[in-house]
Symmetry: C2
Subunit: 133 residues, 2 copies
DNA sequence: CTAGAACCTGACATTGATGTCAGAGGCAAG
DNA sequence: CTTGCCTCTGACATCAATGTCAGGTTCTAG
């Protein structure tokens, strides 16, 4: 398939695909006229790359990890494996951090809610006493 | 305290503190000569702001949430509360996404490890057969 | 054959938080 | 008073992925 189709199937922009190639994350076979062609297999690859980007990995880091995906075991995977473990830990740490923040936010919401309820209750009581008993 | 001390106690740069003020996330009392002064209370606030930044909130969004922290219940907290709920959900979604990615990474590592073991085993067997039985 | 859509390269723009620098003024210790 | 450190404002730089535009080539449908 050509670049436009890959882009729409993987859900990224054409621009990004060219950028991925420039960064060595993606390769393409060129037609005689120079147009990029891809196999179905690349769709999955691009989606994975996107996932790593979304997880905050840099293109440089992704480039170090991908060989490990391509050839399940090269000599280089020695370093790559360590790199993956490192990124895995970094991700875990980041996740824990986000969870803490989310919980802090939830706590804040609960506090605001409670205050709101209190206020509403006070309001009801004001009303009741205004109506008189 | 002055800005330098706040920066070091909150673990951020002086530059960032001025930026936070510019974005309306932080206020300071100015001395006659124009220097910013803060109370101990601000340390905690800055740390919280940092946490929100790290969670991917923009300064604009943070600015919308902070009033809810300052005065536990203003009229505005109506919109702010909804905003917080929205960000809370966004965070949950993001966390789930990161977990998926981390697990994908873990799967990849396991695969590489397995392959490595297989290779090592093959190597041992080659050795054994070379030594002769 | 031709019009329109898709592709090519290359370059510049954008975003947002932060770094960095310059020039000027403030403050505390010797 | 001087020296050194801190602070001020304002401006420009940075990074990284992506957007966008321009000018040219290629493909495809009619």
């Amino acid at each position: 398939m050509r670049i436009g189709e890959l882009a729409s199937r993987a859900g990224v922009s054409v621009r990004s695909l060219r950028y991925y190639e420039e960064q060595g994350l993606l390769t393409s076979t060129r037609s005689a006229s120079g147009q990029r062609h891809y196999t179905d297999h690349e769709v999955e690859r691009v989606v994975f790359i996107q996932r790593l980007f979304a997880a905050g990995l840099s293109s440089r880091t992704i480039a170090e990890l991908l060989p490990c995906v391509d050839s399940p075991s090269e000599e280089n995977s020695d370093a790559a494996l360590e790199r993956m473990a490192q990124e895995h830990d970094r991700l875990s740490e980041r996740i824990a951090d986000l969870v803490r923040t989310r919980d802090a936010l939830a706590g804040l919401m609960a506090m605001a809610q409670a205050h709101r309820v209190t206020m509403a209750q006070a309001h009801r009581e004001r009303l009741r006493s205004a109506v008189g008993d």
